[in-house]
Amino acid sequence: VTLNHLGSLFGFYGAVGCVLVSIGIFSLAIHTHIYRRILAWNALGSGVFLILGAFAKRNAENGNSDPLPQALVITGIVVSVSATALALAIARRIQYLREEDEP
């Protein structure tokens, strides 16, 4: 790994994205509660988006970032929020059933 890439916008935000992905994986592995895992998945996903954004900057021509990764990320953000909403709805259902069983 050559660290001089870190000085460019591509390398720097790409590296930040990598860090976000890895702490997302770490959090996913050490938490047992479903809510924390949903948070971790979201952080992991936005780290992947940021890496894609770094590639958009890498491919920039005349100062315009590559539109293809941008379009992919916009699509991805909308999909991930609907997945999050669905995950939360399922998580709340699980919680509701668990509370019914307890007393």
Binding site: G11, R58, Y96
Partner: protein, 312 residues
């Protein structure tokens, strides 16, 4: 060549990682959620630095705003659990996870830096065909024309998500969503009613701008969707009669408009979703209008369905 970073980028990157750390490993679940919203806003600022204004708009309104509203709405139900406030206490498990995460970090960094000098042919291809795309804004051209298939399937995912959210809601609360819920305070309702016309107007402007500048269906849809969610927080839910035919039509509007245009383009001799240059502008506008309405309503339905009322 890619441009160099400045002190601002280093601060922003450090703040991003710090906010993510607090959101993922903070002791208290509620403050972790707040840090997650902060993280989303910082992420939008990072997208501005990367020259992706469209993504920054989407990230600020959907990634930070709507996800935040969903998470804050859900957290109260989980707060009584002890588990939600702390990770598993096993040192061995944490060590294994730490090694795994570090390996992923190293692998990712190596492979990303390895590609630092390669370039993609896509930007010049997009640039070269922009005149026939029906939109002079490259991101809109990619989303609605060159890669329209992706956007079509994405609207399919949204439709599936809304169907699933409605189903889960109906399983444990088969009543209709009440049209009005008396709010504890009246300020949220006043703010929502004042902001509503402004947000609709700004959403329309963003949609119109999308044909030549940052903006478009996703940003407009999420902004108009946000105005509906503000109304919901203020207690107004009359637009969400889940059994109403009109509501279901609007939920499916984006996907089915794509379907109709796909069939029409296939029947008239072209490939699926291959727009004739002369018509591309109008087709994109129709698709964007339909997508905006569907996205705005879908976001409201999944927000409403993840908030059980009455059911305790």
């Amino acid at each position: 060549m890619t441009s160099q970073i400045e002190a601002y980028d280093i601060l922003l990157g450090a703040a991003l990682i710090g906010a993510a750390w607090k959101a993922l490993f903070g002791r208290e679940a509620f403050s972790a959620t707040i840090f997650f919203v902060v993280y989303g806003m910082l992420m939008a600022m990072a997208w501005v630095q990367l020259g992706a204004i469209d993504v920054a708009l989407a990230e600020a309104s959907i990634g930070a705003g709507l996800t935040g509203a969903l998470l804050i709405g859900a957290i109260r139900q989980f707060e009584p659990d002890d588990e939600v406030h702390s990770p598993t206490g096993k040192t061995q498990a944490m060590a294994v996870a730490g090694v795994l995460a570090s390996a992923v970090l190293l692998g990712l960094l190596t492979s990303i830096f390895h590609t630092a000098d390669s370039r993609s042919p896509v930007p010049s291809l997009v640039e070269g065909n922009l005149a026939n795309a029906g939109s002079s804004h490259p991101v809109t051209a990619v989303l609605l024309n060159f890669r329209g298939f992706d956007t079509w399937l994405e609207l399919g995912v949204l439709l599936l998500a809304s169907v699933a959210a409605i189903s889960i809601h109906l399983i444990y609360d088969p009543k209709e969503i009440p049209a009005r819920i008396p709010s504890v305070q009246e300020q949220p309702g006043i703010v929502a009613r004042t902001m509503f016309p402004i947000l609709i107007l700004v959403g329309g402007v963003l949609l119109w701008f999308g044909s030549w500048a940052p903006g478009g269906a996703f940003q407009a849809g999420s902004l108009i969707g946000a105005s509906g969610i503000l109304l919901q927080i203020g207690g107004e839910r009359s637009m969400l009669r889940l059994s109403a035919f009109g509501l279901r039509v609007v939920l499916a509007l984006g996907f089915s408009t794509f379907l109709v245009i796909a069939i029409l383009t296939a029947l008239t001799g072209g490939r699926i979703l291959e727009f004739p240059p002369a018509l591309a502008g109008s087709l994109i506008l129709v698709l964007e209008l339909a997508a905006t309405l569907s996205i705005a309503l879908t976001l409201n339905v999944i927000y409403a369905c993840s908030h059980p009322w009455g059911a305790k």
